[in-house]
Subunit: 594 residues, 2 copies
């Protein structure tokens, strides 16, 4: 059957022949290399039909393959036509490996350097020695895609000082001082949330991520060149950011990069695209590979940002409580809303707060065995039904003007089995062990990760994802540079960072459990040799006590849970106007006893 995908692949093959090329690699990423990309940059979707959030394709003159990770092996087979594409594992058989196996030696493979990181480009040049990689000036899809959606180009939202706590001028001065110390003339700021943080602005160009598609260069004198259509900036922008922010048309970037000839400029090879560093190098600039200087500064939030995070979590908690209370009432009334209806209802409760601007990521609303897929996304056409005598998992968050939330709750539907309760309780004990951890300055997330897994491990269980990711302030819900995971990460946890604490357990085709709060890193005085760091939970919503096997809980576990539930009651109940919701929260936060 001929589909639009067949026509598009044929157009790309025609282009290959015209250009004298043998293949083209099409990644999911756009030039900003972020996790979320706008619809008009979904080139992989256009070329293959595959709509997942990560992947790539290679199209040669007579063959093609699409590459996805374990999350998408089922989905890709439904979306990318099997008569056109081989299906490959993105990590086990990456695109360039497949291309080297499929193509003759010396074949020419087109690469759009804007869509790949500097690190990727370095690795490929070594890996693909049998192929000739050809950097293309313009992407053929941008020409061939006739019904390409228009870019959503929002007007910049200027964040007031009482929301962000530090002026852009002060942030720039601090970073500029460290640039000067390191002997650099400038730093490329290419990560969209870094730009938004540095200039104290937000946008709505991308779903779930309140940023503006733009680029920036920070100079050692604290001035910034900001590459964006000036029409997108409100009149007050100049006063808002202070002196020495020069707004330039995006087209001016290339010439400005060339002007770095002979100068030293920091580029983050993990987050900046390869086109940027290659353009700089070709112009004779001295490219210093180093982390985006905004990353660490942004992740350790100031007191004003933290106050906003705390406040929005109470309001977000009220929305979650209304949802959980409503869901329990629906079930008690014999109704069985499906995954889509549940997700929509939760979003409706969040939207009652006018400061809630967006989801912080696509809601995971998963019933029964669907929750065993930890990145499950329900089908809009055919959402799964609630499963009786099992658990329902909902992982969701909101983008509020004063902060970003991310919470997972797993709730009983009918009577859960002893197996489910055992797993839920072990996950909860891991969550509590991490939440109550104390540790010295300098500790990294991978040193703490086992605290969250130890109780599952003792019973022969584990979960195949990290324990905690950083969370931005009305920015990216997945924020670096530190994280809490098995894999070593050299960045120490700092006061003011915010992390998720989300151990889980997944039994294939049966059920999935995850308990996630966000936690702020706080400094704690001791009577010992040093103060230590610890976590302070921001999230405010009850943890389902119907799923707890009390016999597995220590006294200290119960004390933590009861204290946490008291906080939830104290802070969230004043926001509930419905007596039913209040009554529901009261019983949900009642002290657990043996």
């Amino acid at each position: 059957m001929q589909t639009p995908i067949h026509q598009r692949v044929a157009l790309l093959r025609h282009w290959l022949t015209e250009q004298g090329l043998d293949a083209i690699i099409i990644p999911h990423e756009d030039e900003f290399l972020g996790e979320y990309i706008p619809a008009h940059n979904e080139r992989l979707l256009w070329a293959t039909g595959f709509s997942g959030s990560a992947g790539a394709a290679v199209i040669t003159r007579d063959s093609a393959a699409v590459f996805v990770d374990g999350r998408y092996t089922v989905q890709v087979r439904k979306q990318a036509p099997a008569d056109l594409f081989d299906y490959c594992h993105l990590i086990q058989q990456p695109p360039m490996t497949w291309a080297a196996q499929t193509l003759h030696k010396g074949s020419k493979v087109a690469v759009d350097l804007r869509l790949h990181s500097g690190n990727w480009w370095k690795a490929q040049q070594a890996a693909a020695s049998a192929l000739e990689l050809v950097a293309i000036d313009s992407n053929p899809i941008d020409t061939l895609w006739h019904d390409r959606p228009a870019a959503t180009l929002s007007t910049a939202l200027l964040m007031p000082l009482d929301k962000v706590g530090k002026s852009s001028a002060d942030k720039r001065a601090e970073l500029a001082a460290s640039l000067t110390t390191s002997g650099a003339d400038a730093a490329m700021i290419t990560t969209l949330d870094s730009i938004a943080w540095l200039l104290n602005i937000r946008g709505a160009d991308v779903e779930c991520l309140p940023v503006l598609l733009s680029q920036a260069i920070l100079h050692h004198d604290g001035s910034v060149d900001f590459y964006i259509d000036p029409a997108r900036l409100p009149a007050e922008f100049a006063r808002h950011v202070g002196e020495r922010v020069h707004v330039k048309h995006p087209e001016a970037l290339e010439a400005d990069l060339r002007a770095f000839s002979g100068k030293r400029i920091l580029v983050d090879p993990a987050t900046a695209n390869a086109w940027t560093s290659e353009t700089l190098k070709a112009a004779g600039a001295n490219v210093i590979e180093a982390a985006d200087p905004c990353l660490l500064a942004k992740s350790a939030k100031n007191a004003v940002e933290l106050a906003g995070m705390k406040a929005c979590h109470v309001r977000d908690g009220a929305a979650v409580v209304k949802f959980l209370a409503w869901m329990d009432r629906e079930i008690a009334a014999g109704h069985r809303p499906n995954e889509g209806e549940l997700s929509d209802q939760l979003w409706a409760f969040r939207q009652q707060d006018p400061s809630c601007k967006d989801l912080s990521f696509h809601t995971i609303s998963a019933a029964g065995g669907n929750a065993a897929m930890c990145h499950y996304r329900h089908s809009d056409e055919n959402p799964g039904p609630l499963v009786e005598n099992s658990v329902y998992l909902v992982d969701s968050g909101g983008q509020y003007l004063d902060g970003t939330t991310d919470i997972t709750r797993t709730v009983a539907v009918g009577n859960a089995s002893a197996e489910v309760k055992q797993a839920f309780t072990l996950v909860l004990k891991g969550h509590i062990s991490l939440a109550t951890a104390r540790f010295p300055a300098g500790t990294t997330g991978n040193q703490l990760d086992a605290l969250a897994r130890q109780h599952l491990w003792a019973y022969g269980f584990d979960y195949d994802h990290g324990t905690g990711h950083g969370v931005g302030h009305f920015l990216n819900v997945h924020e670096g540079p530190a994280r809490i995971a098995k894999v070593p990460n050299p960045v120490a946890l700092l006061p003011g960072m915010v992390f998720s604490n989300e151990p889980g357990y997944y039994r294939a085709d049966a059920f999935g459990i995850r308990i996630e709060n966000l936690e702020q890193i706080v400094e704690i005085e001791t009577a010992g040799d040093m103060s230590v760091l610890g976590f302070s939970s921001l999230t405010r919503a009850p943890i389902d006590q119907r799923l707890i096997d009390v016999s597995l809980m220590t006294d200290a576990d119960i004390t933590w849970l009861n204290h946490y539930h008291q906080l939830v009651w104290d802070e969230v109940s004043p926001l509930l106007s419905s007596a039913d919701d209040k009554a529901w929260l009261q019983q949900a936060t009642a002290p657990l006893t043996r």
Copy 2:
């Protein structure tokens, strides 16, 4: 005052002038790069008077410096004459940095490549770009040292199969197969305990480490060239190791290395000296940098080795129990043996077992504030007295024919303060948390390290050393490649590995606490998704209950302790002939109650 050190430095300066050189670097290490070196290779001691176990010196024509780490800052000032030497920190101001600051640009620095690792040599060539490093063929100290002690050249002890569990031929065949897979023609085996393990032999050339000073090359066909004086091997050696072990004079090594021209040979740049790899490279060999292939195989012990480890720990425990009982009786009788008498008495009890061949390291016998120095070594001339109403720390071990032990106990002298009891109990809780950990295959030591520190951290305490090192089987008491520490180490813990579990706490000038058992990694079946790994304590000696603050112990902590003490009683009491010792052990292992 002129001392022999002044004369020796003068001789070295004369040699520098003669050779047209500007400086010489003298490391503590000998050509085998091990932790323990024989007396005849103590070149740093000869040149400086400094007797510590790590350090270096640089002597120029008109200046000199000695470099030590934090353990030795006091000692070095007593030993190396101040009118000759600057005192520098080995890590913060390493030898080549000092040399580059002290000498004119282009100065010639003599380096004996036999005494440095390949990794060190690579790093220096980059670090010392302003100096000319000159590799010397022979070390001037070897010529100038007229009263150099003769080397202790012991006769090889052939280890029977019922002690080591696997024949040398089988070990060689397995390693050779993996060499072939990796496409290498041979591997340098330069670590002394690797050679001893591979050939199932032991020796007494070095204090505390039962090895023979020798070198070996393992070929891909399973044959070995073994470089050692044949006179040191008993007649049965050939039958013992099986076919294809070719014994060669040490002088033959250089020519044999040259014969690798055009061949591929593995060299471990962390453990093999730079002379080896430079000689190979100069001959045109293809040097592949990779870990010594014996390291991982040796560290995961077989069932016979583990049975020996278990058995020797019971006998070692009996010696420790006799010592602790004797010490308590001495104290009760009003005697106060000093650190030296205590150390000697413990060694005397160990030597009652004829299979105990040596200490496994120099005993740390530390009273009162001395124990706050975690690598304390008491003075033979002026050992410290026992301190009343404090604690005494003894860290010691034996080399037995069937295994190696390493145990630390901290014991009450009089009435310990509440502070001491709090710290002791927090250390004990960390020890128990690690001892009871369960974790999946693939877990590395740094993932578990926080389990041992968490209780100290919660009170604002920590310890500045690793939590656990590997331990050999009648071999090195500090054995790689895995370890349990804050710093990431990529090597996963495997069943059959043996680690120390030794959290501690040190309050400067006041007291020191450490509780150390050895633990074997065992596989544990579960009712969950997978079997897991865990620790099984090998050490058998009571933990001083007089120092426990029971209010800090959970029920699970108390259960562990009582179970452990029951094991100690059951296994050690049959080895005690004295009624007094038995009675002492009975009260020391009586169940702890609230």
